[in-house]
């Protein structure tokens, strides 16, 4: 298990919903038609575009797959040290 910071840039998100299709436990669409971030299907605290989520390797792989599928690269993923895992720099 490790913790990942997952962030959606709502200005880039166009509501294509590819992330929701691949990883609905981490991403859903709000009423603005923008993806927001969940923690295993739940929303502790308020609804947010950015969240730290603890994940297994398998969960992380699927979340990265969801981020990779975003056609506007609106999803950013960082590890605990703050290193950007996706999009790769």
């Amino acid at each position: 298990m490790a913790t990942y910071r997952i962030k959606v840039d709502p200005d880039l998100c166009i509501g294509a919903a590819s992330c929701v299709t691949i990883d609905p436990a981490t991403f859903q669409l709000n009423d603005e038609n923008k993806a927001y971030v969940l923690d295993h299907g739940t929303e502790p605290g308020e609804r947010t575009y950015e969240r730290d989520v603890e994940m297994t390797d398998a969960e992380k792989d699927n979340m990265i797959l969801a981020a990779q599928s975003c056609p506007t690269l609106a999803i950013f993923v960082y590890d605990e040290a703050g290193t950007q895992l996706f999009p790769e720099l």
């Binding site: 294509a16 919903a17 299709t21 690269l73």
Partner: protein, 400 residues
């Protein structure tokens, strides 16, 4: 095993990437008409509007292909496919034998018969570069026009309005997406265009362009319109003569079953140009979205690698016209429905149409009512019988 993939867009490149994971030893050849490595066409509007720099549209580097052991043949077309002798012929005359081949060539733009400087198309990165250069170079004030009533027309309108270009929207039907939207939805869109200062010319066909080398305007049966820039968004059409000549069945696209297999052995189709059997809605159709192309690339790779896998996705389109969200889910062509339910109205600022076939929702259009999207997607996905829910579905005040 030797795989040849025709088309270097998101469907073809995803298929190549997945095949490499599934078959580390296989030979994989990717033939791309583009000179650029894979980029996101969906990011081009963001690039045009200055939201992302040009380098951000690229999804792969030139080195990526070699590192993956994928032979990337760029800036090249396939001119012939011989499905009996299992080879494809490239535009430079080379012949590539295959064990399995994927057709993922997307679609061809519908173009005007004339061309002048000032006319723009928007499909590729090169098109976007060209458009950006024109917008920068043209003197202001600038009058612009957009021809077409679909997704690309929306992108042009959003861009032109942002750039302060006095914009006229010209389209052949009575409204945008006439086979999809009802009159109420059309009223909503036309009202938004007018409210944002766009001149709307429905049921209008451009008869000829005006100008010698530089575009000065165009003529229609309603009269002439002066403009220095004209964005064309008339959709895509695929000729696919080389596919037909190979004995592969072609309808509006390359015909394929739910496994994305064509009628020819070891020939598969995926992406915008594949007219595949959509198990969600129960008939063959073309879907031109990023998610569809990416998912089909991933699924067809499994089948090509020997793990026969059916493709299933509730497709959805999402765009925005001057701040108004437009979403299509499932099959949005009204002709496939035997009943249509409508929620909301233009006066309320939002209209949702639900398309039913035998009491099951097979598609929907959602304009200005984003909250309807996810519950309707679930109804389509679950093929739920909505016989007892119709009153609620038609009541815009009921939260689905």
């Amino acid at each position: 095993m030797r795989f040849v993939i025709i088309g270097g867009g998101i469907a073809g490149t995803t298929c190549a990437e997945e095949l490499r994971k599934l078959q580390p030893e296989a030979e994989i050849v990717l033939v791309s008409e583009e000179a650029h490595p894979l980029y996101s066409r969906v990011l081009l509007p963001h690039y045009l509007k200055g939201k992302v720099p040009r380098e951000r549209v690229f999804l792969k580097s030139e080195e990526w292909y070699g590192k993956q052991g994928i032979e990337w043949i760029s800036d090249m077309c396939v001119v012939k496919l011989d499905s009996k002798n299992a080879f494809v012929e490239l535009s430079d005359g080379r012949e590539l034998p295959y064990d399995k081949v994927l057709i993922a060539t997307g679609g061809d733009l519908q173009t005007l018969s004339e061309d002048l400087r000032g006319v723009s198309y928007l499909r590729t990165l090169d098109d976007a570069d060209h458009l950006l250069q024109m917008i920068r170079e043209k003197e202001r004030p600038l009058a612009g026009a957009v021809y077409g009533g679909g997704f690309i027309a929306c992108e042009y309108i959003n861009l032109f309005v942002q750039e302060g270009i006095q914009t006229t929207a010209v389209f052949r039907g009575p409204r945008f997406w006439p086979r999809v939207l009802d009159a109420e939805s059309g009223t909503l869109l036309n009202a938004r265009l007018a409210a944002m200062g766009v001149t709307v010319m429905p049921e209008t066909t451009i008869e000829r362009l005006l100008g010698e080398k530089e575009l000065e305007g165009f003529a229609t049966h309603r009269g002439t319109v002066a403009c220095g820039i004209l964005g064309i968004g008339l959709g895509i059409a695929s000729e696919l003569a080389w596919v037909r000549e190979a004995g592969i069945e072609v309808g509006k696209g390359v015909l394929a079953n739910e496994y994305l297999e064509t009628n020819a052995p070891n020939v598969y189709a995926a992406g915008d140009g594949a007219e595949f059997f959509d198990t969600v809605v129960g008939h063959e159709r073309l879907v031109g979205t990023w998610m569809n192309a990416l998912s089909q690339g991933r699924t067809v790779a499994k089948t090509m690698a020997g793990e026969r896998t059916a493709f299933r996705l509730v497709s959805s389109y999402a765009t925005n016209l001057l701040g108004l969200e437009i979403i299509f889910v499932g099959e949005p062509d009204r002709s496939h429905a035997d009943e249509v339910l409508v929620r909301g109205s233009a006066a309320d600022g939002g209209v949702t149409q639900l398309f039913l076939k035998q009491n099951r929702v097979v598609g929907a259009t959602i304009i200005g009512r984003n909250a309807d999207r996810m519950p309707i997607t679930k109804l389509i996905d679950g093929q739920v019988d909505v016989e007892g829910m119709k009153k609620d579905l038609e009541n815009p005040a009921v939260i689905l």
